[in-house]
């Protein structure tokens, strides 16, 4: 047993000696590799710095030449823009001729689209030639207003998109007409009242807010005692139209609101009355416009214009 143990210990010591030798060999090899890598890196660094100097030497003259050329080109561009400005100033008709093919086409296209739209509207009106509208046009014709005028006016005039009847102080909505039921009418009535109140308070002005403009639309306001009326109109809204709209709102107020108590107004179907009133507006607008033209004619000529009447 003791002999066996001694034999094993000898074997272990031999193995240890072998491992020590093996470790030493590996260590030497590692050192050599490390030295070789360090040398390689040193060589690469030296080579790179030499290459960099060579590249710089080669690039410098080329770069200087390019920079000079860019400076020259920039100078030319500055001169060109100055020349263009001068040219535009001095030869406007020529410039207009030059730009016409581009601008002219755009303007033509716009006019064409608008005329097409107008044409479509007139065609629609003509298609409804057996409607009540057509009969109305005939009646207006008897008053000396041409059918073409009626159609043209109806096709091109501003349209009422919304109409509100609102209590003056509380901002509570009493009646509403809309072409497309997309808004919260109560909230709009409240906010319009707040804006009106703010204007009155802020500027301490006895005059009331009459118009608000946004985008292609105008908000026309007619203020009475208990109520105020609001029309949201889009399209061509000139001063004449605004005046006629104000008169029409006043007419509505006097006919349906001013002489009635709150209870009586609540009992009426005011929305229905309002809708009919709005639908009748184009004819009122046209007659009022003609009457206005007629008054102005008389004023200008100082005598009756017999040509105005067809019969």
């Amino acid at each position: 047993m003791a002999e066996n143990t001694k034999h094993t210990e000898d074997a272990f010591s031999k193995v240890n000696v072998f491992f020590d030798m093996f470790e030493e060999v590996l260590h030497k090899q590692n050192q050599q590799i490390e030295q070789r890598i360090t040398q390689e890196i040193r060589n690469i660094k030296e080579a790179l710095s030499q290459e960099e100097i060579k590249i710089q030497e080669k690039l410098n003259p080329v770069l200087e030449e390019k920079v000079e050329r860019v400076k020259e080109e920039l100078g030319k561009i500055n001169n060109i823009s100055a020349v263009i400005k001068k040219e535009i100033r001095e030869s406007q008709p020529e410039m207009i001729d030059a730009l016409y093919p581009i601008m002219g086409k755009l303007v033509q296209k716009f006019i064409k689209v608008e005329l097409e739209r107008l044409n479509e509207n007139i065609n629609k009106q003509l298609d409804n030639s057996f409607s009540w509208g057509a009969i109305r046009r005939e009646l207006l014709g008897l008053l000396g207003i041409k059918q073409e005028d009626v159609l043209l006016a109806q096709a091109s005039q501003a349209t009422i998109n919304e109409f509100f009847v609102i209590y003056q102080n509380s901002g509570i909505l009493q009646a509403h007409y809309t072409k497309e039921d997309v808004i919260d009418d109560d909230m709009v009535a409240g906010m319009l009242t707040a804006i009106k109140s703010f204007i009155n308070d802020a500027f301490r002005n006895s005059a009331d807010l009459e118009t608000i403009e946004y985008g292609n639309s105008k908000i026309l306001i007619f203020s009475a005692v208990r109520f105020y009326l609001v029309a949201v109109v889009s399209g061509v809204v000139d001063k004449g139209f605004q005046e006629r709209m104000q008169s029409y709102m006043q007419l509505f107020y006097e006919t349906h609101l001013s002489n009635f108590s709150d209870e009586e107004i609540t009992e009426k179907d005011l929305n229905k009355i309002l809708k009919k009133h709005i639908e009748d507006f184009p004819n009122y607008n046209l007659i009022a416009q003609k009457l206005n033209d007629y008054r102005q004619n008389i004023k200008q000529k100082g005598n009756f214009n017999w040509k105005f009447w067809r019969w």
């Binding site: 102080n169 901002g171 509570i172 707040a194 703010f198």
Partner: protein, 162 residues
């Protein structure tokens, strides 16, 4: 089933800055609350339809910015109101010290209009602290927890209809 009338009433919320007028309205109309404070500019209008008996009442709620004493120039916002809610912050005495003077002033503009005094931000105080408050109010509310918010508006609506 609603068989009665539909009525519209204007309610105004007044009171000092930051007492929670907008938060109360927001909680009542949208059932929402936000800790973020955004000061109201001018006036903010909201709408809520409530059912009282057989009638539908369209409440137009005007949340008026700022303090009553400062808004004396903007009296137009008060005109035509059917009901008033005076809001104060129960945790800040400075917001209710002027309350009776403010209410008296508004009642001169709007005689016979019902007024409710609302102590808001009840969630910020303990029950003991609330019990020691020296001011009287109609409702103790919290826009944050929605405590008594609905009740306040319904009470005012009933008062406006009677």
């Amino acid at each position: 089933m609603i068989t009665g009338k539909t009525l519209s009433k204007k309610v105004i919320l007044i009171g000092n800055f930051g007492v929670g007028k907008t938060s109360l309205t927001r909680q009542f109309v949208y059932q929402k609350f936000s800790d973020e404070y955004l000061t109201t500019l001018g006036v903010k209008i909201d709408k809520k339809v409530v059912e009282i008996g057989n009638d539908l009442v369209n409440l137009m709620i005007w949340d008026i910015a700022g303090e009553v004493s400062q808004t004396r120039v903007n009296t137009s916002y008060y005109l035509g109101s059917n009901g008033i809610i005076y809001v104060f912050d129960v945790s800040r005495p400075s917001t209710y010290e002027q309350m009776e003077i403010d209410i008296e002033y508004v009642q001169k503009l709007l005689p016979n209009v019902p007024v409710l005094r609302v102590a808001n931000k009840a969630d910020l105080l303990t029950e003991e602290q609330i019990a020691n408050i020296s001011v009287s109010y109609d409702f103790l509310c919290s826009a944050k927890t929605s405590h008594n918010v609905e009740e306040t508006f319904l009470k005012l609506t009933q008062a406006m209809l009677s």
